[in-house]
Assembly symmetry: C2
Homo-oligomer: 355 residues x 2
C-alpha cells in the first residue's frame, strides 16, 4: 500500500510513473455498470453496500486505474438532512422541497453518518477488503457551495439565480445553511476515512460561477472547515472545481493537498497559481476521449509534457466521464499515461537514472 | 455624435464618466417589450424593421443607457444559409437539421446580407434616424465558434460533444464550416456598418469551453478574419465571450478594440491580460441586479474602483440581462455608474481638474 503511486503523487513524492484515475469512472459508459443499473435505480445501488462496492471495483478490474473511487452521489447526505430528492430519468436530480429561506434552513436536520449513511461506510469497508491493499480507495463528498446550489435551485442550474439571491439578500441565512452543510459533510468524510477511505476528494463542481470576492466571503470559510477537519485524519485531500481559473489561489487557501483543475485551465499555469507545495490533478477534456487515437494520444502527451519534472501530478479528466464515452479509449489513456510518463514525476537528474 | 462617451471609451479617450449599456437590454424584463412580444414571435420582431427598431429604442428611452444595440438574434444569418431554426417556447433555439459531416457543411449556402438579411439593415437605418445622433448604435453578430456549436449540437449544449468531435475527428470539415460562417458574418457585419451601425460586438458566448490550444488552432483564425474585415470599416469592435479567463490574450490576438469579460474574471486582472492598448467592457454578474440596493451599489462601485484612472472602460454586465430582472435596478445601475465615475476614465491629474 505504501507503494501506491497515487498516494505518493498526492504527497508530491517521486513515482515510477504518473498515476491516473477518472472522475465518474464507474458509470453508464461501462456495460458491467449498465447491467446492474438495468435492475436497480441509482439510489438503490448507492444504498446497497454490495452493489455500490461491485460498481466501485468495475473500472479497477477493467482498466487498471491507480485509484478506486467509491460509487456514491454527492447529494446522498442531503436525504437524511430532510431533502426530498429524486433522480429523474435523463434530467439529473430534482429536489421537491427547495430551500429558500431561514425557516427552510432551520428545518434541515443534523446528520450522524454512522446512522443515516452507514450504507456508505459499509461499502467503503467492503471495497477495501476486496482491493486488499492493491489499489487505494478515494472517498468523496460535495462541497457546501455546490450542495447549496442544488438544494436552493431545486436541481441543476445555469445562472444560480436563487442561490446568489440568498447570498446577496440574506447572508445570515446563507452562512447558516453553509455551516450546516459543512458540518454534515465534514463528519461524513471523517467517517469515510475511519471506515477505510485512503484519500478524500471534495467536489465543488459549480463554484466556478462565483467571482473571487464572493468565493472568499461566502464559500471559503465553509470549505475550509471541512478540509481542516478531514486533514486532521492524515489522508490526502483533493479539492476540485470547474471553471476555477480565477479562484485557484483561494481554493488552495481553503485547503487541499491536491487541487483538481478542469481542462479550460492549462495544467502548468494552474499549478503556478496554487504553488509548488501543492499537487495537481487533471485535466484532459472528457470530450477528448471521443477523438481518434492519434489525436487522443497527442492530447495526453501534451498534458504530461507540460508538467514533466514536477512531482505531484495525478492524471485525470477535467470533469466526469460522459455516458457515451468509448470504453477502449478509457483503457488506452490508462496505458498511455503509464507509458509516456516513466520517470516524469522525478526531478530531471533522477529521471535520467531511472531511464 | 463625436461626443458620445461610449465611442470615446471604445477608443480609450477621456470621458466625462463611464458609459454603460447592458447586453440583452431590450428584452423580456421590460413591460414595453412584453407588450410587443405578446403579439409577435421573436422571429417576427427580428424580421419587421419597424418592430425591431421600436424594441431597440425601448431601453434607451427607459434607462438612458449610453448605447443602443440592435434587437436581433445571433442565429438570424443561419436561416438563409439553410438552417431550419425554431425558437421553441422556454427551450431556446432548436435546429431541426444539425450539421454533422462534410456533406452537411457543403450544403450550407453563402449569404448576401443585402438580399436575405436586408430587414436587419433596414432596422439599423430606422434606429439611426430615430436616435438622431444622440446615442450611438451597436450592431452585432455571433462568432463562428458559437454559431458552429449551435448548428452542430442542434441547439444549446452543456458539453459540446458533437462540436468538439468534429474539431478533433474531421478538422478539414471543421475549418470549412468555420470559414463559411466567418465569411457570412464578416459580410453581414460590414453591411450593418454601411447601414449605420457605429460599433460592432462579436459574441463568442460559448468559447470558454475550449482550451487555449484549441482556441488557437480551431477558432482564432476564423474570428480574426471577421474582426480584420470589419475593422477596415473604422468602427470600434467589441469582442466578447464568457468563461474566457485563460483565453484573453488569444482573443485579443484575434482582434477587437474592446474585450468583453464576464463576471468570473476580475476586470483589472482581465485588463492586464489583454494589455493597456485595449479597452474593456464588463462585468457585473447579471444576478447582482437582483440584490438589495446597498449590495448592488457596493458591487457597481467595486468594479468602477478596480479600474479607476484607466481610460477605456465600458460598464456592462458579464452576460445578458435575465428575464426576471427588476426594472428599477437596471435604471439604478445606469445612474450609479454615471454618478460614481465622474472623471474616473481620466488620468488622476485630469480627474482632479474636472472635480
Amino acid at each position: 500500500m505504501n507503494d501506491s503511486r497515487f498516494l505518493h503523487a498526492c504527497r508530491r513524492e517521486p513515482v515510477d510513473c504518473t498515476p491516473v484515475w477518472f472522475m465518474r469512472q464507474a458509470g453508464r459508459y461501462m456495460p458491467e455498470y449498465r447491467a446492474i443499473r438495468a435492475k436497480h435505480t441509482l439510489l438503490e445501488i448507492c444504498r446497497q453496500p454490495d452493489l455500490a462496492a461491485e460498481v466501485t471495483l468495475q473500472p479497477v478490474s477493467a482498466f487498471g486505474v491507480d485509484a478506486a473511487i467509491l460509487f456514491a452521489d454527492i447529494l446522498l447526505p442531503l436525504i437524511p438532512m430532510g431533502i426530498n430528492l429524486e433522480f429523474a430519468a435523463g434530467e439529473g436530480p430534482v429536489i421537491h422541497n427547495p430551500i429558500r429561506n431561514a425557516d427552510d434552513v432551520k428545518a434541515l436536520r443534523a446528520v450522524d453518518p454512522h446512522e443515516s449513511l452507514d450504507h456508505v461506510l459499509q461499502a467503503v469497508r467492503l471495497v477495501r477488503r476486496e482491493l486488499d491493499g492493491k489499489t487505494p480507495l478515494i472517498g468523496f463528498g460535495g462541497a457546501p457551495f455546490t450542495l447549496a446550489s442544488y438544494i436552493i435551485e431545486g436541481g441543476s442550474s445555469r445562472n444560480y439565480l436563487h442561490t446568489k439571491q440568498m447570498m446577496y439578500s440574506d447572508p445570515r441565512t446563507w452562512h447558516t445553511l453553509m455551516d450546516k452543510l459543512a458540518r454534515v459533510i465534514a463528519d461524513y468524510l471523517v467517517a469515510q476515512v475511519e471506515a477505510g477511505a485512503q484519500a478524500i476528494q471534495l467536489f465543488d463542481s459549480w463554484v466556478g460561477t462565483l467571482t473571487p470576492d464572493d468565493y472568499r466571503d461566502y464559500v471559503l470559510p465553509h470549505s475550509q472547515l471541512i478540509l481542516r477537519e478531514v486533514s486532521a485524519t492524515g489522508v490526502p485531500l483533493i479539492h476540485f472545481g470547474t471553471g476555477t481559473a480565477n479562484l485557484l489561489p483561494l481554493m488552495k487557501e481553503a485547503g487541499g493537498d491536491v487541487i483538481g483543475l478542469d481542462w479550460r485551465t492549462p495544467l502548468d499555469w494552474g499549478w503556478d497559481q496554487v504553488g509548488a507545495d501543492t499537487a495537481v490533478q487533471g485535466n484532459l477534456d472528457p470530450v477528448a476521449l471521443f477523438a481518434p487515437r492519434p489525436e487522443l494520444e497527442r492530447r495526453v502527451r501534451a498534458i504530461l509534457d507540460s508538467v514533466a519534472g514536477r512531482p505531484g501530478h495525478i492524471f485525470n479528466l477535467g470533469h466526469g466521464i460522459l455516458p457515451e464515452t468509448p470504453l477502449e479509449n478509457v483503457k488506452a489513456v490508462v496505458e498511455m499515461v503509464h507509458e509516456f510518463s516513466v520517470g516524469v514525476g522525478l526531478a530531471p537528474a533522477l529521471a535520467q537514472e531511472v531511464a
